[in-house]
């Protein structure tokens, strides 16, 4: 009886971030390797010296900012009776 995966099989597929976002949206939380994202954040900010916060908080902050920027305006009207 054959067992295991066939030769050359991989459980992963390659997909562009743009295509992935079509399925899961841009705000969905996705688990990634901590070292990888820390390295990525460091590379992006090493040239500007603006990166003083911890790498975790950078990732969290940038996520929050993205959400804040996209908040649509609530429709309201104020009436002054005086």
């Amino acid at each position: 009886m054959k067992r295991g995966r066939p030769k050359g099989y991989s459980p992963y597929v390659e997909i562009s971030y743009e295509d992935l976002a079509d399925y899961v949206g841009r705000k969905t939380l996705i688990k990634v390797c901590k070292t990888w994202i820390e390295d990525l954040a460091e590379q992006a900010h090493s040239s500007t010296n603006l990166f003083s916060a911890t790498k975790e908080s950078f990732v969290e902050d940038s996520h929050e900012e993205a959400v804040k920027e996209e908040q649509p305006k609530i429709e309201y009207a104020i009436t002054n009776f005086d």
Binding site: V67, Q71, P72, I74, E75, Y76, I78, N80, F81
Partner: protein, 316 residues
């Protein structure tokens, strides 16, 4: 007991809804003496005047310095979450201010804000509440801030939130009250009595429709340069702006015509008209049932009154 004068004093421009007027007048009197008002929930069908009465109520609330309280009207379907509400509305407009807030179409409140309101409006006898959220504190002072909710779909409000609110239920307008609305809103025209009854029947028991019909009458009289609006004028107006008998819509007309050939199931009717079953049930057949033009007894059937209306439609 409250006098009619008291209710008219607070709502001089609004016609009908006497029970609502009495209830709201009681809360206005109480507020202006104690500074406290319950959290109100205005419920009723479309076009019964919920928003107008909420504004009329807000207009009568007086701040501690004697000035009239500002009125903030929010369309709840545009609120997405707590963060957006507290940032865009609470902090700049409500916090520390004396203001009346109307949450219109409150059945559309997002879930997280509904949950927050369960805490905020669970006040028992206190008039202040501190709401802790996202490592921040938000102070609610119910002597400074009056909260009103309004919706056509009270069944869709989360029941525990509904329990915290005082319900003010709106009743349908009578033909006489709709006539009064028409007369007041079309003040630049004199609508003859027999005509007024016919016009009132065409506004589908809806005050907002009556206001719009009054505008059409004013425009008609303005264009014809006349003051008297007779039944003949109304028939002419009906032709010009396509008003059907009893204010029926063209889809309702189609339903009547489809049933004239014999009774039909909901599925059969949907197939004939090319509409979804839900759309027929929710949007079109309720008014026909209300006016006794059709009946449902397993199948949809046209009534004798419906047949008469069909004949009238055929002559148009």
């Amino acid at each position: 007991m409250q006098s009619q004068t008291s209710t008219n004093k607070y709502f001089p421009d609004l016609i009908g809804q006497n029970a609502v007027k009495r209830k709201l007048s009681f809360y206005i009197d109480a507020f202006n003496k104690t500074g406290v008002c319950p959290f109100l929930l205005l419920t009723g069908a479309k076009g019964l005047g919920k928003t107008e009465f909420a504004k009329g109520f807000g207009k009568n609330l007086v701040n501690r310095d004697g000035t009239k309280r500002n009125f903030l009207e929010i369309n709840c379907s545009t609120i997405r979450n707590n963060e957006q509400f507290f940032e865009q509305i609470f902090l700049p407009l409500i916090s520390d201010n004396e203001i009346t807030i109307l949450f219109d179409e409150c059945h559309a409140l997002p879930k997280d804000l509904t949950m927050a309101f369960l805490t905020i409006f669970n006040t028992e006898t206190r008039t202040r509440k501190t709401f802790e959220w996202n490592e921040m504190s938000f102070e609610f002072d119910f002597k400074k801030q009056t909260f009103i909710f309004a919706t056509t779909e009270s069944d869709q409000i989360f029941p525990p939130l509904k329990d915290r609110l005082t319900n003010v239920d709106f009743e349908p307008y009578s033909t006489k009250e709709l006539g009064e609305i028409l007369r007041v809103c079309a003040s630049d025209a004199q609508i003859e009595d027999d005509c007024l009854e016919e016009v009132s029947k065409s506004v589908r028991n809806n005050a907002r429709n009556a206001v719009m019909r009054a505008k059409e009458i004013s425009l008609y009289c303005g264009a014809k340069r006349r003051f008297i609006f007779s039944l003949k004028d109304f028939k002419d107006l009906c032709k010009q702006v396509s008003i059907l008998p009893l204010g029926l819509t063209y889809t309702e007309k189609q339903i009547l015509e489809a049933l004239k050939g014999g009774s039909a199931t909901l599925t059969g009717l949907a197939a004939k008209l090319g509409l979804s079953k839900t759309s027929i049930q929710k949007d079109h057949e309720l008014y026909l049932l209300n006016k006794s033009l059709i009946e449902i007894d397993g199948k949809r059937k046209i009534t004798a009154k419906g047949v008469d209306v069909c004949k009238e439609l055929a002559t148009q």
